[in-house]
Amino acid sequence: MGNKIRIKMADLNIGKDGDILITSGLGSCVGVTLYDSKSQIGGMAHVMLPEFPENKDDGNPAKYADTALDMLIDKLKKAGASKRRFEAKMAGGAQMFKFSNSSDKMRIGARNIEAVKKYLKKSNIPIKGSEVGKDYGRTMEFDVGTGKATIKTVKKDDIIL
């Protein structure tokens, strides 16, 4: 069993071979992992919202998809990972309730998924696995030694990405 590193909502962290990065209870948030298999260095972010608001300068950057991934990439590079080898996996972005006001702001899960995909595409990072959307909560465990992400849910069997 590796060294377990827990990542809270609006937070991120990295690990090396032997570490397991875990984020629990993803709802509309999206868990994203980036991995360089050659150096066996990987990171995970638990993002809450799609984009850093333009009219604000006091927000927590780890909360937003774009700024969180910027930070994660920086951190991984400093640890010796190579950005051109990065591969991504993602989970979450669910809609837990059927909101009756189905206005745009109510679909944060879908918007988070889109924001992460857009960022990865722009950065030329391929998405190697994805378990997103629908209406259930997820826990994401990323084994940095193997690059495997296990998605756990309450009602279904584990899914390995």
């Binding site: 609006a10 629990s24 209870g25 993803l26 509309s28 837990m96 006001n101 826990t139 309450v154």
Partner: protein, 211 residues
């Protein structure tokens, strides 16, 4: 100063003001529930806390703990919602009290169980919202409840993000029910106004100075 900073600086006097309103709401709710269940239901004086959103799952037993939650969206002067959350055991007890039949939602969460829980959520949120609406002279229109049975972290996260949007802090009202026929039914009540509405509410309570 943004709203999160203001919230994090609320002191005991301010929280007491909120607690008083919440107590009236809980009292109303207990009366309505007693009438509905033909038995005496008491509710403890609620605990009111302002806490960082990412710590809220901990009070429900951790992010992965299975809970059942009824969400009622609100419109009017308080936009946002109210979430009423129970653990499996408490939900089963409440369904039994209401329907007179044994319930086990872990194996079978059918229409009867779901509608019983939604009905209870309607009464509880209605009573609580009425108290807030009257005390604060606000119009609050509750919608029909929707239900989710899943990880506490996922449910709470969705509610606070989708309704609260930017907030890092949540207003948590924790209440315990007691009935003469069933023991230890704990319920948690979360008031989730959007940031604008929360600011209005706090100002009306005299908790926040106008700027």
């Amino acid at each position: 100063m943004n709203l999160d900073q203001k919230l994090s600086e609320l002191g005991p006097i301010q929280l007491d003001a909120l607690k008083e309103v919440a107590s009236i709401g809980a009292g109303n709710a207990a009366t309505s529930l007693s009438n509905m269940l033909n038995g005496k239901i008491e509710m403890t004086v609620p605990e009111v806390n302002i806490m960082p959103v990412n710590q809220i799952p901990e009070i429900m037993g951790g992010a992965e703990n299975l809970i059942i939650a009824m969400l009622v969206e609100t419109e009017g002067d308080m936009e946002g919602g109210v979430l009423f959350a129970l653990d499996t055991k408490a939900a089963n007890r409440l369904i039994e009290l209401l329907t007179g039949q044994s319930a086990n939602i872990e194996d079978d969460l059918g229409e009867i169980e779901a509608s019983a829980l939604k009905e209870i959520a309607n009464i509880l949120t209605g009573s609580n919202l009425n108290a807030f609406a009257q005390m604060l002279d606000m119009t609050i229109k509750p919608d029909v409840p929707s239900l989710a049975y899943d990880m506490a972290g996922a449910i709470l996260e969705v509610c606070f993000i989708e309704l609260g949007q930017v907030g890092d802090y949540g207003l948590v009202v924790e209440t315990e029910f007691k009935s003469d026929t069933a023991q230890g039914i704990n319920g948690n009540f979360f008031l989730i106004p959007d940031p604008d509405s929360l600011e209005i509410m706090l100002k009306k309570l005299g908790v926040l100075d106008g700027e």
